[in-house]
Symmetry: C2
Subunit: 226 residues, 2 copies
Amino acid sequence: MTGRSYGHYCPVARTLELIGERWTLLIVRELVLGPMRFTDLHGALPGIPRNLLSDRLRDLEAHGLVARRTLAPPAARTVYELTDAGRGLVPVIADLARWGLSHPDPPRPDEEVSPAMAVLAGLAAHVRPGPANGDETYRLEVDGREFTLRLAGGDLTFESGGTEPDLVVSTSAAVLLRLRAGAEPVAKAKAAGRIRFAPDDPVRIRRFLDRFALPTPTARQRKERA
Amino acid sequence: MTGRSYGHYCPVARTLELIGERWTLLIVRELVLGPMRFTDLHGALPGIPRNLLSDRLRDLEAHGLVARRTLAPPAARTVYELTDAGRGLVPVIADLARWGLSHPDPPRPDEEVSPAMAVLAGLAAHVRPGPANGDETYRLEVDGREFTLRLAGGDLTFESGGTEPDLVVSTSAAVLLRLRAGAEPVAKAKAAGRIRFAPDDPVRIRRFLDRFALPTPTARQRKERA
DNA sequence: CCGCATCCGTTTCGATACTG
DNA sequence: CAGTATCGAAACGGATGCGG
C-alpha cells in the first residue's frame, strides 16, 4: 500500500490513490500501446528514475492494473502489460490529452517528444464515431516505433500487429502533433515527405483523417459553415 | 511555477503538471458544483491542511483554472470559482469516478462521504444522452448541501439556483452511492424515506433515474434481455 | 470566521552508484 | 538487461500563530 489515502469514501479519491502519484499515469499511457520491457519503458519516459519506475510498476501490479509476464525461453524476458482494469483508464488519459491539446503551450527547451504520446494525444483523444458497418485498422510508424490501431464503431483498441492494416502511416511524433494542432496542413506535410501513406489512396487517407478528427480543409469549411 | 515539469512535450504530461499534484483534482471536483469560500472548501475536503489548500488555490489561479471573486459589500467575502478552462476538466473527473465505481471497494473505517462527490460520482459520471428536445433541471439536496443540475441534450451543467427545477431530490450522499452501486433499489429507499422526490411524480422520477443511468428494475431487465 | 504564513517531522522524489 | 541501494533535496502533513 503506497498511495496515501485521502480518507474519503469517494470513487474519484480512490482512483487517485491508485494512479494519482507522479509518473503513474504516464507509465499507463505507454503500456496502453502494448506490452513493454523495463528498459524500453525507461527509455520511453525520459527523466524517470529507474527506482521510481520500479516502484510504480510494483504498485500497479499490486493493484491489478498491470501484469508482468515472462516470455518464452528463446527471448526470455519480462514484459509489463495492462490488465483489463488498467485499460479502463484509457478514457482518463484521452481526456487529459484533449484538455492539454485545447490549451496549447509551445514546447519548452530540452523537452522530448515521445512517439507514444504523439499517437495517443494526437489521434486517440479525438476519435470520431465512424460508420457503424466497417472496422478499420491502421498501422502507425512514428519515429521508428510501430502501433496498430483498430477502430470498431466508436471504440479504439491497440493491437500488437498481425492484422493487415487498411492504411500505413509513417511520420514523426512532432509532425503528428503539428497536424493535430492545425499548425501544418496535411497536404503540405505530405508534399514535403514528412508524412507518408501506403497505399497512397485519397479515399482511405481522407477516412483516416476524418476518423481521427485531424484538421482538413473540408473539416474547417464544415466548421465555418456551421 | 510549482508543478514539477516532466520534460516531455506531451499534452498528457503538461496537464498532469498542472493538476497532477495531490488534492488538486479533488479541489476542482468541489468547485465544479459551484463557487465556494475557503473555509467551505476546507470543510468539504476532510483531511486537507489549510496551507495546502491555500497553495493549490494559488497555483490553480496562476494557471487560469480557478478565479477568485470578491462578493459585493453586504456579504463581502472571497469565493473561488472555476474558469472555463477549469470546467474543461470535468470529463477527467467523471472518468475517474466511472473507473472507481466500476472497481468497487467498500468504505474503509473512518472514511468520510462528501455530498459533492456523491453528486458527481453517483450522477454526473453516468449521464445518458436524453431526448434532444427537452432540457431538464434537477435540484439535489444532499446532506444539507444544494446542487442544481441542468441537463441539455447530453451536456450537464451546474447552476447556482434560480431556475425552477423539474424535480427536487432529497437524500444523503451515502444513499446516492448505494443507489448508484445498485446496492439498494430506489423503491426501497423511497419507502424507507431515505430518498424523497418533489413532486412525487412517477414519470419525472423515472426520467431522472433514466438520465443518470441509475439502476432501476426496468434497466436491469433491459440488460438481461440483451 | 477567513486566508495565509511559518515551522518541523515525515514521506516522496530524483540522481547516482551498485548488483545479479 | 533488469532492477536495488543509498542519500540529499523537495514536497507533504499537521500544528500552530497572526492579521483581517
